[in-house]
Symmetry: C2
Subunit: 145 residues, 2 copies
DNA sequence: TTCTATGCAAATAGTTTGCACTAAA
DNA sequence: TTTAGTGCAAACTATTTGCATAGAA
């Protein structure tokens, strides 16, 4: 498959991920992952659809993203807005979200060590696989305004 | 207001919280907070409604819980099930949730220090007010089964 | 009496499901 | 040619909104 809207490097990244997850290479998947690769903050299904250069049905997006999350290509998170946010799983990181305007900023602060502590503490779980960590506040713009 | 289903201590707790939040003392609010005080894990709106000894309309529950969350009486969290979970804000803590059966366990492990790190790191936020931290895994029962 | 809280009906938003068709391997 | 992916219609679930009534301060 030849895509004009992706660099060779991006295509290789995408192919590698799809192969590892045993998912077929389709136009729709390339298009979606290309959007996610370019994104600078987590995107909703609607965001993704708006940014797509190819038309992909909403239902397909939901099913696709679900697979991506299951296979670890994409990280799904909840930003207290009532909808799911997705982002390409690069280096592990988290966000601060403005509870007023929704502004999002990435922070590298992570909780891997605490996951170990929780692991030691729990009695019902031999393995904690993952975590979700989000910070909330009011951003400077909204504070002053 | 006299409630037979609450201890004196619980009533005092509830009153204090309502006063601090400048919310009126109503039967519905006492009933809901009583359920949350007894709960040993986060509850959905549906859970709360099922456990109520008094009939409270679903819409009222949504509005009530929203106020409680805003005023810090109740902690709202997302457990990746598509609905909101609520719990009385006692000592700050978090959960491990089984991605198979939904079993929840409390853990004391917290992230207050990391919130400070994030605070130092961010450029857009003078104040980070709160965070959401959840761990996910497959519980022992589901692992063996 | 005044303002907040509640109930009811209806709408909205996000997400899921069933089924038929298409396309990748 | 077989199985996975996609589109479309419709359903479903959680949550919100508008408006009239009831109840706390």
């Amino acid at each position: 498959m030849q895509l004009q809207y992706m660099t060779k490097t991006q295509q290789n990244t995408v192919c590698a991920h799809l192969d590892r997850a045993k998912l077929k290479h389709t136009k729709a998947r390339f298009a979606v992952l290309s959007v996610l690769l370019e994104a600078r903050s987590p995107l909703t299904i609607e965001d993704i659809q708006r940014q797509l250069k190819v038309k992909v049905h909403t239902v397909t997006l939901y099913r696709m993203l679900k697979k991506f999350v299951e296979s670890g290509i994409v990280y799904q998170t909840d930003l207290r807005t009532g909808k799911a946010y997705y982002e390409f799983q690069k280096e592990h990181h988290h966000h601060v979200t403005c509870t007023d305007c929704g502004l999002q900023e990435e922070v590298k602060t992570c909780v891997a060590r605490l996951q170990n502590n929780a692991q030691k503490e729990t009695k019902n779980f031999k393995n904690i696989n993952t975590h979700s960590l989000e910070f909330f506040g009011v951003c400077n713009k909204c504070t002053s305004g």
